[in-house]
Structures are given as C-alpha cells and as structure tokens.
Amino acid sequence: MKIKQFFQRFFNPNKQKTSPGGMPEKQSAKMQKMLAMLSNTREVELTCDQVFALLDQFTELAAQGENVAQLMPLVQQHLDMCEDCREEYRVLESILHGTA
C-alpha cells in the first residue's frame, strides 16, 4: 500500500459524508481522535492492568460522589484514553447503580 493509500485508509477509508468543517466526516473524526489522543498523552500513564487493579475502588468512589478525577487522576486519564477500560468502567458503574 502506498503512502497515499495508507493515509486515505487512516483518515478517509470511505469518501462519503462531508463534515461542516469541509473534510470528509470520517476522515475529520479520525484526525480529531488521533490528535485528541496525542494532546492527552502524558509521559507517565497507567497501563490497562494497573487500571484494572484500581477500577473497583475508583468506581465505588465515583458512585459515592467523590471527585475521582482529582483523587485518582492517572486512572481518570487512562479511562479518557482507553476505550476498552472506559467501557468496563461504565458497565461496572451501571452495576453499582443498578444493584445497590
């Protein structure tokens, strides 16, 4: 695959909808997603395993109304970056709310 095709696949796999900003919607969304990730990147980040070890505590504190972003900022930062962990957090959160 040539560099052009890579870029098109990376940012524009389907030339379909166009965003209000002018770029094809999917292309724009991917560019924004990647740049947002770069913007949120920190020198030191927790890994998925480290976050998993803390997720029960984090979720309980959040459910109790604590400011978890302040109390456990590295966990919060990882959840902002990692969709898999964020999804697991949200399910755990809904379980705590639903079965409490």
């Binding site: 695959m1 166009t18 002018g22 998925c48 979720t59 898999d84």
Partner: protein, 213 residues
C-alpha cells in the same frame, strides 16, 4: 446470603467444603444480577448465545475469584471486585464475537510519496486552505512513517478504525496491556516529534477545523 463483610467473604471462600460451596453459590447469584448490565445493548439477552455466554462468564469469574483471592486488598467491597472480574470476562467475549468477522486493517508501507495529497482536501475549502491541509497531512504522515514502527502504525490504525484494544491485541499476537504500552510509546513519539517541529496537536487540528468556517 450476600451481606457478608469483605473479611467474611474471604474466610468463607477459603474455608473449603460446604462453607465455600455456599459462598460460591451466593457469589454466583450476585454475578448473575450484574451480568445483564454487561450484555445490555451488546447481545440479545434472550438469545441462546446470551445464555451460553452468561454461564461461561460466571464459571470463569468464580474460578478467577478463587485464583486471585489473595490479590484482593479490600479497597472496595468484595462484590464490586468480583463484578469487575465478571465484567472483564463478559466484555472480552462480547468483543471477540462482535469483531470476529472484521479483518484487522492490513497495510504495507513504502515511501512513494506523490502529489496525491491534493485529492485529500475537500472541495469546499478555499484553494489556500486546501494547500494548508494537504501540506499538513503530508507533514503528519511523514512523521507517522518516520517515527513509528510498522506494528505501531498497524495498532494505531486499528484503534482509529474502532477496534477494541483487546481484540486488536489478540489478532496481533500480544495482549491488551502490552499493546497499550506500545501505543503509549507511539503517541509519545508522535507528540514529541510534533513539538520538535514546533507544532502542537491543537495547531494541527486547527488547520482542518477552520476550513469552511
């Protein structure tokens, strides 16, 4: 009985015999109450697949609870800890099923740059804006090519395509934790290179966002 304290859960689960069996039975009921929250919106809860998944996840969770019992540090309710294990097991399986038919994006790279970047900007942009976009895209792409390994590009592309990290890792013969570390390294490299070139992610983005406004 599911009103045990953390200490009671640990004692009962370590006791063996009928006492342990009863605790496992109670824990099973608790996990079963939580699993519908993991399945909701991801699988028809009345389907045979759902029933099989629930049974599989409960078994796996109970085994893992016993296996990792000594790692429980009491920083949460024991049942929250158990739910966490069940959620990980359920979502891992649901992701595998959901993405099993989707191939991981394949690519081979070369440095054959050409003038095709002109195709990328949208026609709604002014000629000047199109040039800015094309130049920025070319610049960013060169950075991606120069800074990242093929594996890092492949992983980054998969994540941009919406692949769960877990599933991308499985396909790439690694695990989620290692893939996150690899992507973190990739993001750091890209960020530092942009900084070295006097750019911030926000500035790059602004080139694309302002078009058409």
């Amino acid at each position: 009985m599911d009103k045990r304290t953390n200490e009671e859960w640990l004692a009962d689960l370590r006791a063996g015999g009928d006492r342990q069996a009863q605790a496992l039975e109670d824990l099973r009921a608790i996990i079963l109450r939580g699993l519908p929250y993991a399945i909701a919106g991801r699988l028809d809860p009345n389907s045979p697949e759902s029933e099989a998944l629930v049974e599989e996840v409960v078994q796996e969770t109970l085994m893992n609870v016993l296996k990792y019992l000594d790692t429980f540090e009491g920083r949460s309710q024991f049942t929250t800890w158990a739910h966490k294990i069940a959620v990980r097991a359920a979502l891992t399986e649901l992701r595998r099923v959901r993405w099993r038919e989707v191939p991981l994006p394949e690519m081979e790279m070369d440095e054959d740059t050409d003038s095709s970047y002109r195709e990328m900007p949208d026609n709604q942009a002014s000629p000047e804006e199109q040039v800015s976009q094309a130049e920025m895209m070319k610049r960013v792409n060169h950075i991606l090519m120069e800074e990242l390994t093929e594996k890092q590009r492949k992983a980054l592309m998969a994540i941009m395509e919406g692949f769960p990290l877990e599933e991308a890792a499985r396909r790439m013969g690694t695990n989620r934790n290692a893939l996150y570390k690899m992507l973190h390294d990739a993001r750091l490299r890209l960020k530092k290179r942009l900084e070295k070139e006097g750019l911030t992610p926000q500035e790059v983005l602004s080139v694309f966002e302002k078009v058409g406004k």
